[in-house]
Symmetry: C2
Subunit: 181 residues, 2 copies
């Protein structure tokens, strides 16, 4: 596993939005770098291992290592020993990280509405009914957290990828359930 | 007014997340560049003029011009003649752009909850009660759109900026109402 010892890119570039007294600016300091929110998305899908993030996102290992380090330092991810390979880590969303589901789902819903739909659908696990764009279940009115959401590929959509993570994500799965590759 | 004729940075760098069949990736293609979401935030606050965005965000004019061009091409902002200066444009959120309020508010709420609170509060204009972190009014249960939200600075918070836009944003104001500087 390759994880360069260097600091985050933002340590070098400095505080991006230092002049902005705004909670959005602080969120973007943590989440606004290229790839970061897609890594968080994959963590919601149950991706936990460095190699699984890498193969599913197709990003350079150095960039991924930088982002995982930053998200861990910022309390979004927690680094734990991999139960299957104790000398390697897994990266798991913290309680703070799991609270990113509403903004992440809202961004995803906006992109899906205006730019060609999403490749996956999200259902309230107990109903099971697809959530609306606000993340609410139209059936029971609840706004479930990620632990109560089932995610499945949209039927009939052309597959773009064939990596082990994409394959593991083919059957419907509960968000946060660790992926076995 | 300076607006370089060059294309968007993403035109040069290519499609950032081409391998990702994901609506989040497509949202980030449009919104994920540095400063873009803070420009959208300012548009919700009623900022419309190039010079007002520039003075409030303290960003290089070339970066701002690139971002405004991209947001206009992507249908988030609309460029119109400035009623006060017909030869200059103003940039106004489109219907698609106004639909960015839920993800923007959710990101802002997350940052505020975990990283020191926000400098502004958002109230449902008819109640008027501060919205919860999901953007819902605890008083009447509605989830208002930006046109029905009042925004005001949090009382007693130290001011970091003294530019004309920050001054115009001191009294409580309805989102989207054009700022006069």
């Amino acid at each position: 596993m390759i994880e360069p010892g260097g600091g985050k890119l933002s340590d070098v570039l400095g505080n991006d939005y230092a002049g902005q007294d705004c909670a959005l600016a602080r969120s973007l300091e943590i989440l606004g770098e290229r790839w970061t929110l897609l890594i968080v998305r994959d963590a919601f899908y149950g991706v936990q291992r460095f190699t699984d993030f890498q193969v599913h996102l197709d990003i350079p290992k150095g960039v991924l290592a930088d982002r995982l380090k930053g998200l861990t330092e910022d309390g979004v991810l927690e680094r734990r020993p991999d139960p299957a390979h104790p000398r390697r880590p897994v990266y798991v969303l913290t309680a703070t990280g799991r609270e990113l589901w509403p903004p992440l789902h809202a961004l995803l819903a906006w992109g899906g509405r205006h730019h060609g739909g999403n490749s996956r659908v999200f259902l309230h696990v107990t109903c099971p009914t697809p959530l609306d764009d606000r993340g609410t279940c139209p059936d029971c009115g609840a706004t479930p957290g990620p632990e109560d959401i089932l995610s499945a590929p949209v039927a009939g959509r052309r597959r773009r990828r064939d990596d082990p993570v994409t394959t593991a994500l083919r059957p419907p799965r509960r968000l946060l359930d660790p992926i076995a590759t």
